[in-house]
């Protein structure tokens, strides 16, 4: 056998001559998500849920005469309760995209094919983040017109150029991106699908609820949770006897940027360091 040919083939096979491009990794990660049914169901449920929540929260609104100006119309399409469920579902998606690979064993094949684990995680984070952002934009696109038509004649300012609407839409898409990346970090840390899902729901729903309800008296920690940051950035909250503590907008933007960076760093570090 010709030694040169064998060497050249081996070199090509192990990727010395043709390094995998990042685009190939992104395509592989996209196939892994697109090839399953549950992400599609989850995305459809998110949009339907948000449309229903916008309709339900805007349906029975009525104002005393002249009081409408003191209400921020954005609290109806961007309802805190509705979007905290969306954030949790995005985190579930991110957690399962990592933990699912560990539980099915696909991660071994992936790392045999691409030993550069950091690049795999980066490609996966990119795909997950883009999917979450698309779902977030779709949710906003569904909620704004529905709430706007329910509130027609009572409140204005929910059109695409209304005050604060573009920022709220961007912040809402970012909320789902951040939640899905936090979910990825949880999935990399926990690795077991049921454990990862439980941890994601705890981190994004139950812990903020405990912090925000006053059951655990840590207002500073409550301010830093993703949904509270999103509330602080995108709109003010509805009037209530127990308003949740909100951070000032610049601090909120800073923490909004810190969450995904820390999450991706944790994911990369854990995946690179731990054996599969």
């Amino acid at each position: 056998m010709n030694t040169t040919v064998v060497t050249a083939t081996t070199a090509a096979n192990i990727g010395i001559t043709d390094r995998a491009r990042f685009r190939d990794l992104v395509a592989a990660e996209w196939v892994k998500i697109r090839g399953q049914r549950w992400p599609c169901f989850l995305a459809a449920f998110c949009v339907l849920w948000d449309a229903f929540a916008a309709w339900s929260s805007a349906r029975h609104v009525s104002f005393p005469p002249g009081a409408a100006n003191s209400f921020n119309p954005l609290i109806y399409p961007f309802d805190d309760t509705a979007w905290s469920l969306l954030a949790v579902l995005a985190a579930t998606f991110g957690a399962l995209s990592v933990a699912g690979e560990y539980s099915s064993g696909l991660i071994r094949s992936t790392f045999v094919a691409v030993p550069a684990r950091g690049r795999v995680v980066a490609a996966k984070a990119l795909v997950v983040a883009v999917c979450a952002a698309c779902v977030g934009l779709a949710c906003s696109a569904a909620a704004l017109p529905i709430a706007g038509s329910e509130l027609a004649g009572k409140l204005t300012g929910l059109g695409p150029t209304g005050p604060g609407v573009p920022i709220a839409v961007v912040a809402s898409a970012l909320l789902l991106v951040i939640s899905s990346l936090i979910g990825m970090a949880i999935g990399a840390l926990v690795r077991h699908p049921a454990g990862a899902v439980t941890a994601a729901w705890s981190a994004l729903l139950f812990v903020p609820e405990l912090l925000g309800s006053g059951s655990v008296n840590l207002p500073a920690a409550a301010e830093g949770m993703p949904v509270q940051l999103w509330t602080a950035i995108s709109h003010t909250q509805p009037q209530s006897p127990q308003p949740a503590p909100l951070a000032p907008a610049p601090v909120a933007w800073l923490l909004f940027a810190a969450w995904p960076m820390i999450s991706v760093a944790v994911t990369v570090w854990v995946v690179r360091r731990r054996d599969v």
């Binding site: 029975h60 439980t198 729901w201 139950f206 405990l210």
Partner: protein, 245 residues
């Protein structure tokens, strides 16, 4: 050759033909408790709940949000006993060993009821041990009974979700959604239907019994808890009996 044929000894007259209940309870207990993570998770839940209850500024015993963690833990424990058997395939071996599926479900439920009731009892006395202002009042037996009943209700609900869903991640999502997210999203202070629906949740029925909050009467609250437990048990019973594994 025929002289060498082994002949099984005749069944002694005292031999049992049917497995005793303890023979069925023993393997379920062995599957649930000896793995290190069950005891570790239970201990972690107790510690976490007590820490949360200690930092609770509300001046009464058995404040509902602090009990969300043990509720979820009991639900996940119940779901764990069913869904891991489906996920690992152990259920097939179990059903070959015990073909009577109804007895199996009954025994599984009994083990979960026992463990989660013990968890509720431990947490109730831990909560009583936390010093509260005198306005909290003395703890009545009804409050303790409600705490002990809460664990089994959640455990049986977890078993029912697991029997219906059978998939690890989806089961965990379902338990978190039913026991954790529903009481946070539906609260008995909004409009009428939301008020009625949220009162039908175990969280608010229990908090009516344990901390006298809410608008239900006591018998209705007990009835709601009992209805959840019975419905969850029947779902597990029927689904596991009827569906192929």
């Amino acid at each position: 050759m025929s002289a060498k044929t082994a002949v099984l000894p005749a069944r002694p007259a005292s031999a049992r033909r049917r497995a005793r209940v303890t023979d069925l309870v023993a393997p379920e207990w062995l599957k649930l408790w000896p793995p290190w993570y069950t005891a570790a998770a239970s201990a972690a839940v107790v510690v976490l709940s007590v820490v949360i209850a200690q930092h609770d500024p509300n001046p009464y015993h058995f404040d509902a949000p602090a009990w969300l963690v043990p509720m979820l833990a009991a639900g996940l424990l119940g779901a764990h006993t069913v869904v891991t058997e489906h996920a690992t395939g152990l259920l097939r071996s179990t059903l070959i060993a015990v073909p009577d599926r109804r007895r199996l479900v009954a025994v599984k439920a009994a083990v979960i009821v026992g463990v989660t009731a013990a968890l509720g009892l431990v947490l109730a006395y831990a909560d009583i041990g936390i010093p509260r202002p005198a306005t909290a009042g003395a703890v009545t037996p009804r409050q303790i009974a409600a705490c002990v009943a809460l664990g089994p209700v959640c455990g049986l609900v977890g078993m029912a979700v697991a029997a219906l869903v059978r998939h690890l991640a989806a089961t965990a999502t379902g338990v978190c959604a039913v026991l954790g997210a529903l009481p946070l999203f539906l609260q008995p202070k909004q409009n009428r239907w939301e008020h009625d629906v949220s009162n039908a949740l175990p969280y608010y029925s229990w908090s009516r019994l344990a901390s006298d909050s809410g608008t239900m009467t006591v018998p209705v609250a007990w009835g709601t808890l009992a209805a959840w437990a019975v419905a969850a048990f029947l779902i597990t019973f029927v689904v596991l009996d009827r569906r192929d594994v």
